[in-house]
């Protein structure tokens, strides 16, 4: 009998990261102590150890950051477009140089596997700064008009699932188009943003152009409500997005929203099955399923259901759950206790509703927040697990018979962020893509990102695009 192979640990060293005990906000080109006089802990979700303490941004802190950004905007406007471009290129370079340090810190603070932070997040972060650097001096040809001007001060609120990448998606286009920035990273993942602030100082970015205030939802609300901010860009839940849209009603401020999703990943019977299995696994288990565009609803054609589910379960069992800093880890820690509770509650509702659950057999570490890769079959479209965003490693399966039915089920949600299509038949792929209400469609692939590729939703998944030529419009307004 062949013994089960065991893996030896291959843990990335934490030596490269050196953290301060306490961090201030980054305002007007330097770190400052919070006027709120309050700090909060940033812990590692995989060990629950304290990593550092960061400042709580109160109203006075946000006020301070916005005044700095107002001055920063004036400075930034006087900088020639080609010089703006050079600053962004420089930032991209500096990120590349310290890429390993950023990747390790991202995995420590957020819980994502090092192979993802190292091979996906960080390369994409610097690529975004490189891409938008090149737009800074070409805005007049981007949309065939020289009437597009920056808003002024952009307030940006980002989530905890891709902390530094979401920063890059927001900050790079905002600065390239000539806006200044007040950024608030997520409460649970502020550390890589603080390291990024060091990079801005190192690059010699003029004071006040980039400002960072750490805090929680309360801090975010101070930003949204601040009178002297000209544009809000938010990535997060649909619930909070709606509140922000309502708050900004009638103010004339710019707004872009990148909200939740419940993407259908449609597998037709003529798909390349093994490829589709890989794609479905990547679609939902990438980044622990903490992905707004995750392929969380598997729509499988009835004729191949049994074969597909069998292969899928076998493949899922190969996923390695554990220490995010281990290079062999596929699935890291759930980002927070709160998120773990939400996932657990929704999975219980799926069981109570009557869904059949499959979870992989694996040992979970004692400390930290973990959830086993989970698959639901026998699910009715009305179940909460088929409708609500779980934001965890939980896949829900629904079957269909015809392409029309697949599209109908896929579109039967208030969300419209992304979708996947698996088929070897070109005409069917194109027909399906045309009929899906989603802003990003991956055919025979999933979860691919690129700075040149616009990302954003239809319907209640938000409005505005990030990335690409279309992403510029999120930070420019037409001069009357």
């Amino acid at each position: 009998m062949i013994e089960k192979w065991s893996y030896s640990d291959s843990v990335e060293s934490r030596e490269i990261v050196s953290l301060e005990d306490k961090y201030g906000h980054f305002i007007d080109g330097s770190f400052v102590s919070p006027k709120s006089k309050k700090y909060f802990d940033s812990i590692s979700p995989s060990t629950e150890e304290l990593l550092s303490q960061v400042s709580f941004g109160g109203e006075a802190d946000v006020d301070n950051a916005v005044s700095s950004a107002r001055e920063g905007f004036k400075t930034w406007q006087k900088v020639k477009p080609v010089e703006r471009s050079k600053y962004l290129f420089k930032i991209a370079r500096l990120i590349q140089e310290r890429s390993r340090e950023f990747a390790v810190l991202e995995s420590m603070d957020g819980g994502k596997p090092i192979k993802e932070s190292r091979d996906v997040d960080l390369p994409q972060v610097s690529a975004n700064f490189f891409y938008f650097a090149g737009w800074a001096d070409k805005l007049d040809i981007s949309w065939g008009t020289d009437k597009l001007k920056p808003y002024g001060v952009a307030g940006q609120i980002i989530p905890w699932n891709f902390p530094l990448l979401m920063l890059a998606w927001k900050v790079a286009p905002a600065l390239a188009t000539g806006n200044s920035v007040v950024l608030k990273p997520a409460e649970t993942t502020p550390l890589t943003a603080l390291l990024f602030a060091e990079i801005c100082a190192e690059a010699g970015l003029p004071d006040g152009v980039f400002n960072l205030v750490t805090g929680n939802g309360e801090t975010g609300a101070f930003i949204v409500n601040h009178e002297d901010i000209d544009k809000i860009a938010f990535t997060g839940s649909t619930g909070v997005g709606k509140q922000i849209q309502s708050t900004l009603a009638g103010t004339g401020k710019g707004l872009t929203l990148e909200l939740g999703g419940k993407a259908a990943n449609i597998v037709y019977e003529d798909a390349s099955i093994d490829q589709a299995v890989e794609g479905v696994v990547n679609g939902i288990f990438f980044n622990q399923g903490h992905v707004c565009c995750a392929g969380s609803r598997l729509l499988i054609q009835e004729s191949i259901e049994n074969e597909f589910i069998e292969k899928l379960e076998r493949r899922m069992q190969q996923l390695r759950v554990g220490n995010p800093l281990d290079k062999n880890t596929d699935i890291g820690a759930i980002n927070s206790k709160q998120q773990l509770n939400k996932i657990t509650e929704l999975v219980e509702s799926g069981i109570n509703d009557g869904g059949s659950i499959y979870q992989t057999e694996c040992e979970l570490p004692g400390n930290g927040f973990w959830f086993k890769p989970t698959l639901f079959t026998n699910v009715q479209p009305a179940y909460r697990i088929a409708r609500e965003e779980i934001f965890g490693p939980v896949l829900t399966t629904i079957t269909f018979r015809t392409p029309e039915e697949a599209v109908e089920i896929a579109n039967n949600t208030e969300y419209g962020l992304s979708a996947g299509i698996w088929s070897e038949k070109g005409s069917k792929v194109l027909w399906t893509a045309d009929n899906l209400d989603a802003g990003v469609i991956w055919s025979n692939t999933f979860n691919k990102f690129d700075p040149s590729s616009p990302f954003g939703g239809y319907k209640e998944s938000g409005f505005g695009r990030e990335g690409g030529r279309h992403g510029l419009l999120s930070y420019l307004k037409e001069e009357k």
């Binding site: 509140q243 009638g250 692939t445 691919k448 690129d450 616009p454 209640e460």
Partner: protein, 275 residues
């Protein structure tokens, strides 16, 4: 003997209809007083179900076909130019201003008929991603759009308000008060054109009556308001619209690519390349 009052009707689902509420308002013309329907909540609901069907047929036509229908409409307006000028004169507009307005309106119709099969080449593009993928961003119309045009006596202004969404394949519901007669006259030409039923719906009356219903209606995907719209009411629309993340924006009456983009959703499609 006093003039018999003519009652105009609104244009919904390719039919001319009274308000379900029976309410009307009147517009004083030079020689007569004209009654027009005051749109109600029920009329809005009817217009939306008409516009939903209209969206499905209008957006599934080829862009080439939409171009031909809009161009034909410009010919029809030109054919009735004298009547349009007459209506404007009876509303108190000078002959020269009225003529200029209709001439401009015809030019606008021609511009927008020609853009139907071109905007997608201007607003979409291939994305040069760093990998072996075909990646394209193209646009789709938002869907049912509600338009609050400026309430001035100008066909040009009305067309600059409703043609941006129409030309990209949205179906449109618009509301006019002072320009109600003019809008219904346009509806008569639309009625005689090949535009599918429900693609364009024209309501008349005070907007305050239906503001809440329009802004809360989840089947209305976009609301465009003119640049001089009352800000308190705009606030109400935006606030109500947030309940369904509705696209709500102010538009300029202009002819360029950026006049179309608010009515578009960008869809990005990836596919691997390989052997």
């Amino acid at each position: 003997m006093s003039e018999v009052r003519k009652t105009y009707k609104m244009f919904v689902g390719n039919s001319f209809v009274r308000s379900e509420s029976g309410r009307t308002y009147s517009l004083e013309q030079k020689n007569e007083v004209i009654e027009l329907p005051q749109a109600s909540k029920k009329d809005v609901r009817d217009a939306v179900s008409s516009a939903k069907k209209g969206y499905s047929s209008w957006s599934s036509l080829t862009p080439y076909n939409r171009a031909q229908i809009l161009y034909r409409l410009s010919e029809m307006v030109e054919g009735r130019k004298a009547s349009y000028v007459q209506i404007l004169k009876e509303s108190g507009i000078s002959t020269s201003t009225a003529k200029k307005d209709i001439d401009k309106a015809i030019e606008v119709l021609i511009w927008y008929s020609g853009i139907t099969d071109k905007w997608e080449q201007l607003s979409g593009n291939l994305n040069p991603v760093a990998g072996s993928y075909f990646n394209i961003s193209h646009q789709e119309p938002l869907g049912v759009s509600f338009i609050f045009p400026r309430d001035n006596l100008s066909l040009n202004s009305l067309l600059l308000s409703i043609l941006p969404p129409l030309s990209v394949g949205c179906s449109v519901i618009s509301l006019s008060r002072e320009a109600g007669i003019l809008a219904i006259m346009l509806a008569e030409d639309v009625h005689n054109s090949d535009m599918p039923s429900g693609a364009l719906n024209i309501l008349t009356g005070d907007y305050e009556v239906i503001l809440g219903d329009v802004s809360k209606h989840v089947e209305i995907k976009g609301i465009g308001v003119n640049s001089v719209f009352n800000n308190d009411d705009y606030t109400i629309i935006q606030s109500n619209g947030s309940e369904s993340v509705k696209r709500v924006f102010k538009f300029n009456e202009s002819m360029n690519l950026l006049s179309l983009t608010p009515y578009l959703e960008t869809k990005t499609v990836w596919h691997p390349k390989g052997k």
